[in-house]
Amino acid sequence: MKPTVFKRLKRDRIYLLLLAPVLLYYILFKYVPMFGIVISFKDYNLFKGVWASEWVGLKYYEWFLRNPDAWNIIRNTLLLGLYRFLFLYPTPIMLAVLFYLMRWKRYRRLVQTVSYMPFFMSQVVISSILIMLLSPSTGWINQMIKWAGFEPIYFLQKAEWFRTIYIASDIWQQVGFSTIIYLAALAAIDPQLYEAARMDGAGRWKQTLHVTLPGIVPAMVIVFILQLGGILELSFDKAFLLGNVATLETSDIISTYVYRTGIIGGSYSYASAIDLSMAVISLLLIYTANRVSRKVGETSLW
């Protein structure tokens, strides 16, 4: 017979006691701010605070949709997220296969170790280095361009370069560390499959095509779905640090716009209305992605 709720509460009291501060954390630092989004439906008044300010309905959402900047920011966020996904998804798979096919194990370990390193550097350090390397007068990259006989490029002042820089540096930061999941999948492939393929006369290329790649398909599917869900999760830090007034046309994404109009400009209600609209789209994406991954991959994020 199942014990009653009261008995279970009594039995689990130690665990509930341990859980209490954790729950308190989630309530105070995650759920209270979540309910704070009501200010996007209110006229936030500094003196009255979030809860006592006047209701204004969808006023700020209408403002945003009427703002000619709005579409540009939505487009920037979507395009940056989409391009990032298109380039960041396949590169770790290719690198993982190269690692796997490397016959000198020590060399492979060495390259692996080195390639994870940028992942652990802060966005401030990464962005600072990028700014230095891309400098038109003293940066190493422009030195090479000049050396090859071309004009230096003002990378960080040109809107058309922002996405390329953002995505290329993201690949540089993440490709190594992202190979880990694929390497785990590759390590789990049964060696007998290769044996069988060789018996059938498959060469190295055929073995890669028919044994190695199919071996990581489940991992590929899961990563694909999860990354598709997180497509709008762009780093505020990096867009904020690398973007500037000259490149707003492409570098201004939802999070930097919210920071500028809200925190700096003081339009709290307006800025949170924009943020909420994007968060809802993002939530739908993640939720759908997780449902699909549970169906397809028989595994999920939670």
Binding site: V111, S122, S128, S272
Partner: protein, 290 residues
Amino acid sequence: MVRRGQIRIFDIVNFLLLAFVAFASLFPFIHMASVALSSPEYVVRNVVGLWPRGFQWDAVSAALGDKRLWIGYRNTLLYLVLGSCISMTLTIMGAYALSRKSLIFGKAVMMIIVFTIMFNGGMIPFYLVMKSYGLMDTIWAMVLPSAINTYNLIIMRTFFQGLPVEIEESGRIDGLSDFGLLPSIIIPLSKPVLMTVGLFYAVEIWNSFSAALLLLRDPNLFPLQLMIRNLVVVGQSGDVLETAAASGKTVVLESLKYALILLGSLPIIMVYPFIQKHFEQGALIGSVKG
């Protein structure tokens, strides 16, 4: 699976491709150190590539002479120690309780927690609520709002769930209570996961930037990353240069900036070789979530 045999063209191409990956991963850091340690004449002529030319410490010592950098280091260390203790305590408590399969309301609590991965109030409500808690311009702003990382909590919970039940039962026979099991059995058995999650928290706190940008106004509380950003990206390093010039050092701005970035990343670069395998382990546990 590669069979022993002759070296083919592919092996050579692969060798070169991986050499390029290694070079690309390291070059920016090596170049940064080289410029920071080169003498001004070579830096001005832009001839510093992979190794320092006219080796000298002037740029690094000029950077070290700036008080703001030391304030940043001190604050970051404070946040690191305090934050790691709070984060680990809370994460262990939560993960241990939630690792009980029969825990009453366990599933509901887990859903409440996981939902926060998918949705949050966004920057403005976060800022206003933290302000209303009185966290603005206090050291708590840097340790409390990010105290629990949900992914870390899940990693640890999954590990606890995987511990053999028999050991726990033998602990109970020896007279340990539910609470007593944690320090005397669970924690000693969980060193790998504690190490991994602890490192994740430490790196996260060391690198954190936007919380400071949002919640701190007092420069005396700024962590290292915010200091580096103000000095390098915003360009307040000019006055460090003037101080250095006044003391008779010849330093160029580029060397100085690289020296500042170098000092901001040096601790991680130095400990990286020793902790790298733990990250790999963490990423593997993390990628298979129950």
